[in-house]
Amino acid sequence: MAPLLGKPPPPIRNRIRELRFHAGEMTQAALAEKIGMTRQTIVAMEQGKYSPSLEAAFRIATVFGVEITEVFQWEG
């Protein structure tokens, strides 16, 4: 039976924090605004607690002008 508060996040690593730094130290709030999400969700992603949908992943990659695989890597 799955835990009541959800299963652990999948083994997907991301470089969002690093890419934000290279994009002129873009703030979490600025990135959130660009992809139409909340800052809390960006925080959760950077902490590896939440893996975004494919659409959101593409949006993030587009903001940084890189391929999606440069942002997210499967570690399974």
Partner: protein, 162 residues
Amino acid sequence: MSFREKHLWISIVTTVAIWGFYYWRLIEAIGAGGLTDPRFAFLTGGLFIGCLVVVSVVEIILTLLATATTRKAEREARDERELLASLKASHVSLMALIALVFSLAIAAYMVGFLDAAAPAGPKLPMTPTNAMILFANILMAAVIVSELIRYVFNVALLRRAY
């Protein structure tokens, strides 16, 4: 704290405070023999409508405050993580509501059955009208509890990142 989480906290606080007050007063009235009082329906009805108005007004005021203290982009964000948390909390809340209503149905049937089967005949310490009012309040409590479960579970999911 996101706008969604602020709104959930507003709902938790108003629900616990105002509906807690309502049911506290209802229990007091029942303890004072209200179930045999022909005015029970009017007294509880008036209190219920009063609490409904207060809940609405307080929620509107606090939501306006939350709106004023949250950036527009944050308020208008259609966040998938918040949506997922909300859907999961709604599912848990619905299951809780079904369980509560099912339990109440069994309890009401058993009370009625045992009362009817009593050797001395039916003798519930309440008028039939007040029994209906009491059952309506118990059903309303089930709805309030299930909503409270939804709010709390949603906050918990958002806090642990979903």
